[in-house]
């Protein structure tokens, strides 16, 4: 009997290893290899190790300026996003009022809007001709910060909101009954309980800000560059690979440090999670400040989008649909590909990227949530967990350029493959998919599986009855997110997309590069179309959300 049992266990280990190998292989080939190739080009410029060049780059005053600019804008943007997001998270997840789900979904949209679109929308708002033109913010660092806050405040709202929603009301009540004022309750009970969520949100937002590409590229103009846009400039325009590799290295090290620090900060005395969704309460007078901040946030999120829509409908001082008509054809002959074709290409690519990241993410989620009893097993699992989160911290530009230089010779000559872009985008979406699935899978009580097994269900049957029943909704939600991320992906795509078959964000960026009012207007119209599609996808996703999950 024990022989049979140990045979079964060995088979289980082998199965686990095989399952784990699939995503490891994929991430190695399509992530580690390209990024490694990029670093290799930089650090071994003439075939021999030459860190001197890299150090030289780091000593350039421009490098210092770029790093400093990235740091301070990201810090400010993160702070503002957290300060705006906390009250909104409370209002949208703890209070009950009509239209709550609509507002919630609306505030989720900016996060999935393509960064190019966000940049464009903010610029429409603050351009001299825009509603906020009198503030004279166009081309300033403030514009970039507005853009960063705009698309990151939703991350804070979602992450903290989900934690807040599943926060048991009773400890706060116990504190109040012990004489704590509402502010004391917030400081001593609520905030400590929310700390992991706030720290995660802040760190992810900082990460997104520090690696933001489209927003900075569109809003920064020639005056401002972040590490990410600088890498783009150095590789694509100046072909200064050692410099680009140096910056990539700096970025990666910074991200690793950040993740370690965050891991420390997130550690709490008692890590057990109690997922009880507390019933929302009716708003009271003392909630007024939070409600006001939420309304301001809502307005701040709505304004750029309104500016974008209005801008797309204005031509020569009047209302017109000309810009939308121009989407169908190559209006002035200035751009080679009709926007409608680009949209079709984007959708096609997004479908491929979605199923790729979804199947990969599902395997990863199963692997990292499997119960392991041995210490070694747990270590391996922790390493895998971190490994699959790598794409979150590495610049999409680095990835894209790495694709270009690493996957261009046999046996991995994928330059002509239609799957190249979807694969890159799937990797960018992978961390999000995994983050959506892991909490749900980890939350399944293992005894449910044991109960199924004890009733005679085999492993596959157990998986179908227990896991699938729970995971299908978040799986659909993850599909929506992956789809939206893929539609908006710009950093990596801009490198590897075939010029004759560009995606919509790439076309929008190209249109912006061409002079002419019609081109600008058409870019706005294309942005509206792209934003509508992603928003529609996300609104469907929001309906599929499992309460209490879906944070970072």
């Amino acid at each position: 009997m024990s022989a049979a049992r140990s045979r079964g266990r060995v088979r289980g280990h082998v199965g686990y290893a095989v399952l784990a190998l699939v995503p490891v292989a994929v991430v190695s080939v399509f992530f580690v290899l390209p990024v490694g190739a990029m670093l290799h080009r930089g650090l071994w410029p003439e075939g021999s190790f030459d860190p001197g060049a890299v150090l030289d780059v780091l000593r350039r005053p421009r490098t210092g300026r770029v790093v400093w600019f990235t740091l301070w804008t990201s810090t400010v943007a993160t702070t503002v996003a957290v300060l705006l997001g906390l009250p909104a998270a409370y209002v949208l997840h703890r209070l009950r009022f009509p239209g709550r789900s609509v507002v919630r979904a609306a505030l989720l949209v900016p996060f999935v809007l393509p960064t190019v679109v966000v940049g464009l929308a903010v610029r429409e708002l603050i351009a001299p001709s825009g509603v906020l033109g009198f503030l004279d913010l166009d081309g300033t660092a403030v514009a970039i910060i507005i853009g960063l806050v705009f698309f990151n405040v939703s991350v804070v709202i979602r992450t903290v909101g989900v934690a807040w929603e599943s926060l048991d009301r009773r400890p706060a009540e116990a504190a109040a009954a012990l004489g704590a004022t509402p502010w004391q309750v917030f400081r001593t009970v609520t905030l400590p309980a929310l700390r992991p969520a706030v720290v995660s949100a802040a760190s992810v937002v900082f990460l997104f800000c520090a690696t933001a590409f489209g927003v900075v590229l569109v809003l920064g103009g020639v005056r401002y560059a972040s590490v990410e846009t600088e890498i783009y400039l150095l590789t694509a325009d100046l072909l200064d690979l050692p410099a680009a590799a140096a910056l990539s290295l700096v970025q990666m090290l910074a991200v690793v440090c950040l993740l370690v620090v965050v891991g420390r900060l997130r550690a709490v005395p008692d890590p057990t999670v109690r997922r009880v969704v507390a019933p929302a309460a009716r708003p009271r007078w003392r909630d007024t400040p939070a409600v006001v901040v939420t309304l301001m946030t809502l307005a701040a999120v709505a304004l750029p989008i309104l500016a974008l829509v209005v801008g797309s409908l204005r031509r020569d001082g009047g209302w017109s649909l000309d810009h939308y008509r121009a989407l169908g054809g190559s209006a002035d002959g200035l751009f080679e590909v009709p926007v409608s074709d680009a949209l079709a290409a984007s959708l096609r690519i997004a479908v491929d990227a979605t199923w790729l990241s979804l199947s990969l993410g599902l395997v990863v989620a199963f692997v990292v949530t499997r119960r392991v009893r041995s210490l070694v097993g747990r270590r391996v699992r922790a390493v895998l967990d971190g490994f699959f989160m790598l794409p979150l911290g590495v610049s999409a530009v680095t990835l894209g350029f790495g694709f270009l230089i690493a996957l261009d010779q046999p046996p991995l000559d994928l330059r002509a493959s239609p799957m190249l872009v979807p694969i890159a985008q799937a990797l960018v979406a992978l961390p999000i998919v995994v983050r959506l699935l892991v909490p749900v899978l980890a939350g399944i009580d293992d005894r449910q599986r044991q109960a199924a097994a004890s009733l005679g269900a085999g492993p596959v049957r157990t998986l179908l009855t227990v896991d699938l029943a729970v995971v299908w909704r978040p799986l659909l939600a993850a599909a929506g997110f992956a789809f939206a991320v893929s539609l908006g992906e710009f950093g990596a795509t801009s490198f590897i997309v075939r010029p004759s078959e560009p995606t919509l964000p790439v076309v929008i960026y190209r249109l912006l590069g061409h002079p002419g009012a019609l081109n600008h207007g058409t870019a706005l119209a294309a942005s509206v179309v792209l934003a509508s599609v992603t928003a529609a996808v996300i609104l469907v996703v929001e309906r599929l959300r499992v309460p209490g999950t879906g944070a970072w």
């Binding site: 048991d168 009773r170 400890p171 009540e173 116990a174 504190a175 109040a176 009954a177 012990l178 004489g179 704590a180 004022t181 509402p182 004391q184 309750v185 001593t188 009970v189 400590p192 309980a193 709490v268 005395p269 008692d270 057990t272």
Partner: protein
């Protein structure tokens, strides 16, 4: 002193607490006893200011309607303690003291005293999750006491614990409350807990208080059949059975009245046992003589914690549960005599006299 006048709590139209009047005098412990879902916890939360209530909740004559929870000076202890998981035991207990800005040394001293009081000296630096259920509840109690509440509210504080621990902790709770002279309002569904801890008991059902009085009085004289059951009476008899058993126990019973009996008050003796005489009597004979015992036939025998538990088919009165000395070795089919202790019986007014039947 706490006074509730016509307190009603409704959630979206569903009435959870319905016109409750209650009072708790200073230093008293009042237990609100009722089955789950009867509204007792809601009542407690309304007193704490956590649920909006209609009616008057007053302390020493001052209406608390506009007073938020944290200014009421009522500490609430939850069923599962609700310790702050991120704080150590000492910091949990010292929470209320720190809120008031007590200096570090005072906090430390008071916390140590309180932990001693609840029997957890030396637990100061532990984290709540490392404690057992009973220890957590003791910490929660110490934390509530540290707030020096005018009134201590306890929401089923012992229910989450296992039976033997519950008995021990109930006795401790009584001692701690009386030693500290704490005024307390305490809700529970367990009558033994209520009797162990409280001076007065209010029986609640369907959102209303159906009976309130000193514990001993309620123990003796429940107002109706459901109240009798929630106060620990195991069976409520009516009709002939009630008359027969009441006569055997020499308890006066109004015509048509019901009789509540505690199972501990019925003892089965062998039909041909020590006081012999009745062995040959026919069924009606013994009762007619009024000798205080009921003849019957044993249907089944089970072991219980306090002796053998018999299910007896009593002649003319139907089935009754009774206790027997294990040494008598009764077996199914044996004839026995049941002796009913008058102190274990309560005569209830006839059906329909109370609000609940």
């Amino acid at each position: 002193m706490l006074e509730l006048t016509d307190v009603t709590v409704a959630f979206d139209g569903a009435v959870a607490v319905d016109g409750v009047d209650l009072a708790v005098a200073d230093g008293d412990v009042l237990a609100v006893l009722g089955p789950s879902g009867c509204g007792k916890s809601t009542l407690l939360r309304a007193v704490a200011g956590l649920e909006p209530a209609v009616g008057t909740i007053a302390w020493d004559g001052v209406d608390l309607a506009g007073t938020p929870t944290h200014r009421r000076g009522f500490a609430l202890m939850f069923q599962d303690g609700q310790l702050f998981d991120h704080l150590t035991v000492a910091r949990n207990v010292g929470y209320a003291l720190r809120l008031r800005g007590a200096d570090r040394r005072t906090v430390r001293r008071e916390v140590d005293d309180l932990l001693e009081l609840v029997g957890l000296g030396g637990y100061a630096e532990r984290l709540p999750r490392t404690l057992s259920g009973g220890e957590r509840q003791r910490v929660a109690l110490a934390r509530s006491l540290a707030a020096r509440p005018r009134l201590l509210l306890l929401d089923e504080p012992l229910s989450a614990l296992d039976a033997s621990l519950r008995v021990r902790l109930a006795a401790d709770l009584r001692r701690i409350l009386t030693e500290a002279g704490t005024t307390a309002l305490f809700v529970t569904h367990d009558q033994s807990e209520a009797f162990a801890v409280a001076d007065r008991i209010a029986v609640m059902r369907g959102g209303r208080v159906v009976q309130e009085g000193p514990a001993a009085e309620l123990w003796r004289a429940p107002v109706d059949a459901p109240a009798a059951r929630s106060l620990g009476y195991s069976v409520v008899l009516d009709g002939d059975a009630a008359t027969l058993v009441a006569r055997a126990a020499s308890v006066p019973l109004e015509p048509g009245g019901q009789l509540a009996v505690r199972s501990s008050g019925i003892r089965a003796l062998p039909a041909d046992g020590a006081d012999g005489g009745g062995a040959a009597n026919g069924a009606g004979g013994v009762v007619g003589v009024g000798g205080g015992s009921l003849p019957g036939t044993v249907r089944s025998v089970r072991l219980g914690p306090d002796g053998l538990r018999l299910d007896v088919d009593v002649d003319g009165a139907g089935r009754l549960a009774a206790l027997a000395d294990a040494a008598t070795e009764p077996a199914p089919g044996d004839r026995v005599r049941l002796h009913v202790d008058a102190g274990a019986c309560a005569a209830l007014p006839p059906r329909g006299a109370g609000r609940w039947t």
